[in-house]
Symmetry: C2
């Protein structure tokens, strides 16, 4: 069945979030009447009408004639006790990482997400993941192909690993970040085979810092 546009009205977004929060809180989905009460909707048929739109647009699955027969589809939700982080792209790929800000954060928009331990993300906001391309951070025990967890941040401490956008070169890079004594920025690979890069501070844009690494061995 051909999917409609995924754009939702304000009320539909509210319904979706209500279902997600209800499920996370209670361990079971809401009824149509729960949605009526929780979203300030005047009748069960309006709720059902909007639920059918969410279904048609691929956000939920409904089981007809079954109580609480609403299932959030995997691509659209972080389920309870599970942090699902978008894998936005690869670092060192020649284009800026499209890091969303908190107003436009839409986890469902990413094609790919990854489950991460809560211990790595607890208490933090603006989390996303990047797949590493290249060996520039191998001496920091980060290999080509690893997934790095990032926390959105525009300022980092000296020595922290960060995702940096170089405006003039139009490329993104993962490096250790240092402020030089002479006012420049030193982007330091963690690889003895590679030299650091020195750039003007106004040429760099810090997009996040590394807070974790995930690697599979096959």
């Amino acid at each position: 069945m051909k999917r409609q546009s995924k754009a939702l009205s304000t009320k539909q977004k509210k319904i979706f979030e209500f279902i997600r929060d209800f499920l996370r809180e209670r361990g079971y989905p809401p009824t149509v009447r729960d949605i009526v009460h929780g979203c300030g909707i005047s009748s069960t048929s309006v709720a059902s009408y909007n639920l059918n739109i969410l279904k048609n647009k691929g956000y939920i699955r409904r089981s007809p004639d079954i109580s609480r027969g609403i299932e959030l589809l995997d691509s659209s939700v972080a389920l309870r006790n599970k942090v699902q982080v978008p894998v936005i792209g690869q670092i060192a790929a020649g284009k800026p990482i499209p890091v969303p800000d908190s107003d436009t954060w839409d986890v469902t928009a990413s094609a790919e997400t990854i489950e991460v331990p809560q211990s790595l993300t607890r208490g933090k906001e603006g989390i996303y993941a990047l797949k590493v391309k290249g060996l520039s951070m191998i001496d920091a025990l980060i290999n080509d192909g690893d997934i790095v967890l990032m926390q959105q941040m525009s300022v980092v401490e000296n020595g922290e690993m960060a995702a940096i956008w170089l405006k003039s070169e139009k490329e993104a890079t993962l490096k250790k970040f240092y402020y030089d004594k002479r006012g420049r920025v030193r982007l330091q690979p963690a690889n003895s085979q590679m030299k650091p890069i020195y750039v003007n501070p106004e040429n760099v844009e810090i997009q996040g810092k590394v807070i974790g690494v995930i690697r599979g061995l096959t």
Copy 2:
């Protein structure tokens, strides 16, 4: 309210597993009648009677008079699309890793678990995690304090990283595993500062191989 013994009858275990599997499959819990049909129980009051036992013993929460008002409590379940792996202990800790076998596997028994990406564990069984102690595998990009994901396995290929129990020395170790030409086993650290260990094959017991690494940076 004082908790009763957590021991469950065969039927109660079956009901619990049915609820867990149903929830994982459908995204919503079963009704009492679903449980009746799915567990071969003759009446709704028997199902309800056993559900109350599960409630009293801390396995589930019930919401009275609500359809599908059954919630699996966190300590007892890995929820849908989330793989929760027990962190059994530390490797290189001087005692055998208490790796359970498939008959006695009880994820709920571990004090500590960690959420891991499905991409690392999909299609695999007997998964557990270990916290690394020491730097013996640093050249394989595994640091002290990292979490390694293990798949229970008693035979590994030459060169694979494995958790090995040394019977005579009574210690567990994480090393690359090789069969020597002269019939011995070579346990090779991935650290240029450390020498390999040569042991008799009958002195080693392979307890699992490494399938992934998770690291937090604080």
